[in-house]
Structures are given as structure tokens and as C-alpha cells.
Subunit: 397 residues, 2 copies
């Protein structure tokens, strides 16, 4: 039959990266597109031990049973203390909700705040999933300018006044895709300006634990005096994405609406995943395992930077991120390179990246690429950046 | 700050049952409200063994990593064959998507088909979550009359013509809350009439595996000639709800839109849960464990029926379900009993049920109660139905 889909979904294409994933079933292509943790640091042995321990004790009937939409209480309590490392103090389990991966917080915040036609402000460029999610709510993304210190506060305030947005979404630490970390002044400024205009802010922090140099910076949430900021983080990059577990922290009155939205979406997150993560943290494996992953990722990152410097044409510049999982590269305007047009050719040569337009609110960029370095081997990085460099040099000629 | 929530969520209260759950933290109350599997049949040992096996082999890096939104391919392939037991033949993995519990299919179907103000037809009474989910899409539930054989086909066709609904939702086998199983004539009729009017149908089947007597009946989907029916089922009642895993079966063109909606919602379902369930089914534990659970549930069901007959006032009648997890009870109009008003008093006496209004599209019912029998012990069932009977007898006087 001919399906009559809803307005929100009729013309909606899949999230660009998820679609690329599917295109990449070809085993001859090395993907630098995703943000996948390296298989060697996924804690398989620990998860097996923890599951055996959970299943042989009293907790089995808890973690195999239906649970509260708000999340598994021991994990909520643990996270209420844990987030003090992000400068978020004085929290209780009431301030914490467990979600099915940090991305679910974006979905639930849009569900709670975005009416059809509403504007959501995002950093330009931003995490591509927020652009996709926003379309399912028939909202409109408007980009805020960003520099080396993070969001441009003047542009932020101007756009708040102009668009009366429903929400601001940002990734202040190792922003995806650029790797930028907002300065403390910008963080304080976001909290201050958003409070002034009664603007809900979603601070997404999947990457701050993956730091190669420098010191932690306080979260935007730590500067929140009025309760308008929700902080969300994921265990996907720090434990294992397959568990689909993350959390958010905020004011109970706001979080209660996210819970009502989550009741409708998936009832609650996997109790087994929540039980495993709670025990994983109780055993102090969180920082211990990251201490193994981070040097590995840094080595890969350095290998990519070196290979890009060696092989890419001179019209290409790139970041050297202090954390996170991505290098963000830019071709000069004069180069004439169109990264979107070039994508299939790169795949033909066995190398996949994400081209820039997927990260921009207006979807018009053609000059950037995002490259992930955590999943490939150093040999693959060397070989593929060589191929990519040769390919782009050909395109210039 | 004062939060300005979206239209869809501003006045939305939580799903009634989830809210009851929270109120029931009082350990002195025995809850007959939920649909919880009995802890004694949750396969803890098997899940520990399977997890140990998955984590020590090649599959660890698959089930701990990001996965496809469509679901874990080995499980999709397995389910494509598995559903032949419901009369659904000739399926491939393309016809199968994995979801985070059967309820997510309802959410994704609404996302794909329901615009603000659209009508969704439901059996009256129906599974309460669909009414809650529909509100998050600003849709309108309209009830279709139902009798001993299931949906009234004349009323269905009349309401399709009158309301031009976006979708029909039904639970044709051991319907929640009434326990009714639609006849094969009604099933065929639903498929025929919905095809005639180009109406998408969501057939929800969480309970058909929990059968105490009689033979399997073919699904509505098995009569689908045009591809408008989506069949969904959950592993919550048959394996473990804490894994949050279910599936849906339908035409790829339709399912692809559900996948786009799911990309935005939670990226994919827990890969660990999917890996566990795939291996659980591969080891033929699905039917084996149900063969232990069903006699247990039947004993509890019979205990509840006997206790209701013994203790409840004569103005009360009830079903004796041939499957599923619920008894549906009705007070005569003359009794003057208001089950919604009576709820808190029953809780004071240590007994919780779900009162009828939560299952009806118009929310007006005051004469029904739904009682779950799978989770309580036989002694609790005896004691609590005694208390409940005494309480309702008092209310009549």
C-alpha cells in the first residue's frame, strides 16, 4: 500500500552518519566516519565478571525486572556524587536520570521544549544528531558562531533576542566535530546569558573524560544559578556504547518532564546495563580503564596528525585536538575542493570520512571533513591518510 | 526559573501505571497493578552463562560496540524465521527491526504516522501506554467497541470512515486489560477492512506465548495482503523485561521510517541485550523456560479466580483469562462502586490494582479494575483478595 507518513518523517532522511555506516558494509573501506571506541579497550572480561556476580545474587531479580523510568536508584545515587568532578555539587538522586545513551537526553529535551517551528540554537558546526533529532520535532536549528574559546557570546545573545529559541544545545568540552573547549569565561557567560533570557540549555559532555593534555574545566552546569542547564553524559565513549547508557543532571521539576517523555519512549533503560555500570563504577574500573584507553587514543591521534601533515595538500589545515575522538580538517576556499562531492571517490579508494555539511545548521558547508582516529590501527591510519592525501591532491589538479 | 514546556508535554501527567509504581514504594502494599514476570522464572543463571560466553569470544567486540539502528543482524535473521509460529511466513531480516521493548514500536509508529490532531483507533478498553504515547504526539485516541470475539468490525469501519484515522492499534491475543482473544474471522476482517481504507495497523503481541489453554491463532499480520500491518512483540514477558528488548515485523519501506525515528530516539537498542537474547534463542531456552513459567502463572491465576469468587461481592464479575497476566473485573452499575475513588482506600489496606479509566480512550470508566496475578505469591493473592473483597463490601453498604 501507499504509506501516508506524518509531516515530521515524510521527507526525513536518516542521520547522515548512520547512513554512512550502512554504506560501509564493504569490508574494503576503512571508516574514519564514526566515533567508535577501540575494540581493545572495551571491558569484556570485567563485564562478564560483573554480570556473573549480579546474576548470582539478590540483584538479579532487580536488574532483569522492570525498573523505574527515572533509572536504577543505586546508579542515580552514585552519579549524584560522581558529577562533582565536573564542578556540579550538592546533587542527589533527584537531580539524576538515567537515559539510553546521552543522545536520548537530546531527544527528551526536544520533546519537552520544542514545538513545531521553534528555533533551537546550536554551535556552528555541531553534533550532527541534534540536527536530525530536531527535524523529528519539526524544529529549526540556527547556528551560533564559534571561535577558539567556544561560542561567541555576542552572537548568542543577538540570536536569543532575534529567534526567541526554545533551547540552546552545546558540547563545551572537545566539541564535536571541532574539538574546541570553551573557556571558563564563555561557560560562565552561557550560564549568565541563558538565565537572563529564561533559556533552557542542554550541555552535552560525551568526551571530557578523553583528555590528552591540559586540566579539567568546570561544566557550564556548574555556573547554573537558576536551574536552566541540563548536563548530560554518556558511557558510550568511556565504558561501552553497546550498553546504551548515559545520564542527565538537572532540576527535578525539569527532569520530571523528561521522565514523562521517556515513559512513552522506552519505559526505562536496560536494567542490566544500568546494573553493570553501577557495579563497574563501584569497583573503581571507570578511571582505571580510561587510564589504559587514553594513551592508546593519543598514540592514534598523533599518528593521524603526523600522517595528515605528511600527505595532505597544503590547502588543507586541521586541528590537533586536546581530547575527544576527532580531527577536524578544512580545505581553503581557493582549493575548490568539495568534500561532499569527493566522498564517494574517497570510499572508492577505501577511506570514509564525514563531510562537513552534516554538522552545520544550514547544511551548506563543502570544505570540511571530520576524521575519527580511535577505531583504526596506526598502520591503517598511515595507509589511508596517504591514500586520502593523494586523492585530494588529484582533485586539485 | 519558570520552564516553558512544549505543548505536547506541558499538561501531560505520567503514564498512570508508572505513577502507581512510584506510589507503591511502600513495602506494606502488595501490587497487583503491574504486569511483572515472576522473579522465580527470570533466567538469571542462563543470562550469566550466555554473557560469559559472549564476552570471551569474538562477539564481545560486536555486542559492546555501536550497532545498527535496525538491530543485531543475527537476531533479526532468527526472528524472521521465528515469527512463522504466528503465521507470518516468508520473512527475511529486511522485514525485522529490533526495538527497546515492544512499547517502542508504538512510539515509533506514532512518530511515523500521527500528526497533531490525528485520530488513532484503539480497542476500548486498551493498553494504557498507547493512550499516554499518543498524547506526546498530540494525537487523539478513539475507542472501537469490542466484544467476546474482539473488535466490532462494523464499528471499526464506521469509525474509519468518520475519523479518517492515522492508525489502528490492537492487542488481538489476550488483549490487555480484558484478556480477550480475537476470533480468526475478526483478525481476517481487520486485515481486509484496514487494507480497503489504506489504514496502518499496529498489532501488539506481548502475551500470546503465555497461554493456559486452547491453541495458537494466526496473527492479524498473517492475513495482511498489502503490507499495512506491523506486528510487534516483546521479550519482556517471555525472557526478562530488564533487557528492554522487542521486535517488529513489517514491510521494509514502512520499517525504514521507524528506523529513521529510532535513530533520533536512542540510536539502537542495547547490543548486549540483543546478543544475550539471540544466544538464548539459539540455545532453545525460549520455549523451555516458558514451559516452566506457564504452569506457575496458571496456578496463580487459578488462585486469584478462586479467591475473587470467594471474597468479592456479588455485584462483581470477572474474566477467567485463557492467557496473559491479568484478570479484568467489573462492578455492576447498580453497585455504585467507583473504582477510581476506591483506589487509595485499597492501598491503605495494602492492596493496589489499576482502575478502569486508565484503559479507556475517553478516560471516563469507573467500574473496572485490572488485577495482575503473575508477580504475587499464592498466599498474598489469597490474603489480598480477601482484604479487597471485604473493602468493596464495605463500600457497598
Amino acid at each position: 500500500m501507499e504509506y501516508v507518513f506524518s509531516d515530521r518523517i515524510r521527507d526525513l532522511k536518516g542521520n547522515a552518519i548512520r547512513e554512512i555506516f550502512k554504506a560501509l558494509n564493504n569490508p574494503n573501506i576503512v571508516s574514519f566516519a564514526g566515533g567508535l571506541p577501540n575494540a581493545s579497550v572495551l571491558p569484556a572480561r570485567e563485564i562478564a565478571e560483573i554480570t556473573a556476580s549480579l546474576m548470582s545474587g539478590d540483584k538479579a531479580s532487580e536488574v532483569l525486572q522492570y525498573g523505574a523510568t527515572e533509572g536504577y536508584m543505586p546508579l542515580r545515587e552514585r552519579i549524584a556524587s560522581f558529577v562533582s568532578r565536573y564542578g556540579i555539587k550538592g546533587q542527589t538522586s533527584d537531580n539524576v536520570r538515567i537515559v539510553s545513551g546521552g543522545q536520548q537526553t537530546i531527544d527528551l529535551m526536544c520533546k519537552a521544549f520544542v514545538n513545531k517551528g521553534d528555533v533551537v540554537l546550536v554551535e556552528d558546526p555541531t553534533y550532527l544528531a541534534v540536527l536530525h533529532i530536531l527535524k523529528t520535532y519539526e524544529g529549526v536549528a540556527v547556528g551560533v558562531k564559534s571561535g577558539a574559546d567556544g561560542l561567541d557570546l555576542e552572537d548568542l545573545e543577538r540570536k536569543i533576542i532575534k529567534y526567541k529559541p526554545a533551547m540552546l544545545y552545546c558540547v563545551p568540552t572537545f566539541s564535536n566535530p571541532t574539538g574546541i573547549t570553551y573557556s571558563t569565561q564563555v561557560r560562565e557567560g552561557i550560564a549568565r546569558i541563558s538565565a537572563k533570557y529564561n533559556l533552557p540549555v542542554l550541555e552535552d559532555d560525551p568526551y571530557s573524560e578523553i583528555r590528552y593534555e591540559g586540566e579539567r574545566v568546570p561544566s557550564v552546569k556548574s555556573y547554573d544559578k537558576v536551574g536552566n542547564v541540563v548536563f548530560t553524559a554518556s558511557f558510550s565513549k568511556t565504558i561501552a556504547p553497546g550498553l546504551r547508557c548515559g545520564y542527565c543532571v538537572g532540576e527535578p521539576e525539569l527532569l520530571n518532564k523528561l521522565t514523562i517523555g521517556k515513559q512513552a519512549a522506552d519505559v526505562h533503560s536496560s536494567m542490566l546495563s544500568q546494573g553493570i555500570i553501577d557495579e563497574y563504577m563501584r569497583r573503581n574500573l571507570f578511571d582505571a580503564n580510561l587510564a589504559k584507553a587514553i594513551p592508546l587514543y593519543k598514540t592514534k591521534k598523533d599518528a593521524m596528525i603526523a600522517a595528515l601533515d605528511r600527505y595532505m595538500p597544503s590547502c588543507f589545515t586541521h586541528t590537533d585536538p586536546r581530547g575527544g575522538l576527532f580531527v577536524w580538517g578544512e580545505f581553503s576556499e581557493e582549493s575548490g575542493i568539495d568534500t561532499q562531492l569527493a566522498f564517494m571517490g574517497a570510499c572508492d579508494r577505501g577511506v570514509a570520512y564525514v563531510s562537513g555539511e552534516t554538522f552545520f545548521a544550514d547544511g551548506l558547508d563543502r570544505r570540511h571533513i571530520r576524521l575519527n582516529f580511535s577505531n583504526a590501527s596506526e598502520a591503517q591510519i598511515e595507509e589511508c591518510m596517504h591514500k586520502l592525501g593523494d586523492y585530494f591532491k588529484e582533485l586539485i589538479r
